[in-house]
Subunit: 215 residues, 2 copies
DNA sequence: ATAAATAGTGCTCATTTGTTTACTTCAAAT
DNA sequence: ATTTGAAGTAAACAAATGAGCACTATTTAT
């Protein structure tokens, strides 16, 4: 379970996420400090330690930019991920997502799917979401399909992602031009969403697969 | 268009991708060197420069771990092709089908996918086909998708099936009214096929699943 | 055969970057 | 009133890391 962050910590956490998404690598202490007018690296470091203690980050000691974002916060999920049968990755399937709850919380797990490790490239944090709604039918994603999500993947413009807006989770095409983030559906009947309040928006992960079962 | 890589460059590029995927940040020159037994950082650096010049990477000068992966377009680097011997609901993937040969002949197998037995109802004869062509895009099946086929399933009108017509294998919607068999595509640009010579037609199986991998 | 591209070693150097200690400020809780 | 926790400054330090040069070896193409 994730512990609550202070306002400052949350802003820093969001910045790290955005930096990582835009650059493909995490920021340094000094880059974070510069952004938030913190003149001492020590001040930044303690923020990172707080975020680590609360389970949001992992930090590799003495490694530059050794920040990795922790998107699978609950320990129960780790148990699910470690159930590997003969080196085959078992991916948890997330069903309904209660408002405000972490997306990978145990109570949301509906089942699991087993994928050949040759297909899913060593991303043990992957999970699957059951799609509700038809906003992506033109991209060949239907209601009831499972989308496989890689939380650590680098998201680029045009990628299909799962985004969280306030307490809603949706599948859309991601576009970031001049810091204006757009979430583009693939259905003429839906409108593009322009993200205004970045605090209420986060990228859950990139869609790396689609699985559909008929009957 | 991306330029071709040397064997060495490709291995290094794949390693960088995997490292990024696993750790959330890119490797350092020395970490790459260690992996490939390159004792000098300069040797590694020139590989990165080559990869940059050929459009695979971007590098931020003087920044540690300042490597970002360029995912512009088609990366047909099939690092996914090896087979492992495990016996749990392993579904073979059929690639090209030689004219006249039985569709599940061993030489046609391109790989395999492992599916949770909870999903596939113990149909051990299931196999997967890689879709070529776009005749089913309106049913959410795109070129390159894998369709999972159950040869034993009972096929009803309206079901999606894989049919063999002479030496061609296609995915279509099946309809049989008054002994007139129609194969209906899901794409306005294609025409419904009416089967005349039933000797040259057979049902390979029913489509029970669709799997798509993005990137 | 000769030039060009590829691959690598060993070394030095400069910068980047994380670590640590000591001290300050402020607000909220006890 | 005192303690506690969050937030920050300044300075010195060590480790990590990229940059660069001179030189060698092998393969590939002209």
């Amino acid at each position: 379970m994730k512990k609550k962050l202070t306002e400052r910590q949350e802003k820093i956490f969001i910045f790290i996420q955005e930096y990582q998404q835009e650059n493909g690598y995490p920021p340094t202490l000094r880059e974070i400090g510069k952004k938030f007018d913190i003149l001492s690296t020590f001040g930044v470091k303690r923020h990172l330690e707080a975020l680590t203690k609360k389970g949001y980050l992992n930090i590799l000691s003495n490694a530059s930019r050794g920040i990795s974002i922790n998107k699978n916060e609950s320990e129960s999920l780790d148990l699910i991920n470690y159930q590997e049968v003969n080196n085959i990755s078992k991916i948890p399937i997330i069903g309904r997502v209660a408002a405000g709850s972490p997306i990978t919380a145990e109570e949301n797990v509906e089942g699991s799917i087993v994928i050949d490790p040759a297909f899913i490239k060593k991303d043990e944090d992957s999970f699957a979401l059951k799609v509700k709604g038809d906003s992506m039918i033109e991209a060949g994603i239907f209601e009831g399909d499972l989308v496989i999500i890689s939380p650590k993947a680098i998201v680029k413009n045009g990628d299909m992602i799962v985004a969280r807006l306030e307490d809603e989770v949706t599948v859309k095409i991601y576009e970031n031009k001049n810091s204006i983030v757009k979430l583009i559906p693939q259905n003429k009947n839906y409108q593009t969403i322009i993200v205004k309040n970045k605090n209420e928006f986060s990228i859950v992960g990139k869609v790396t697969g689609v699985v559909r079962w008929i009957n």
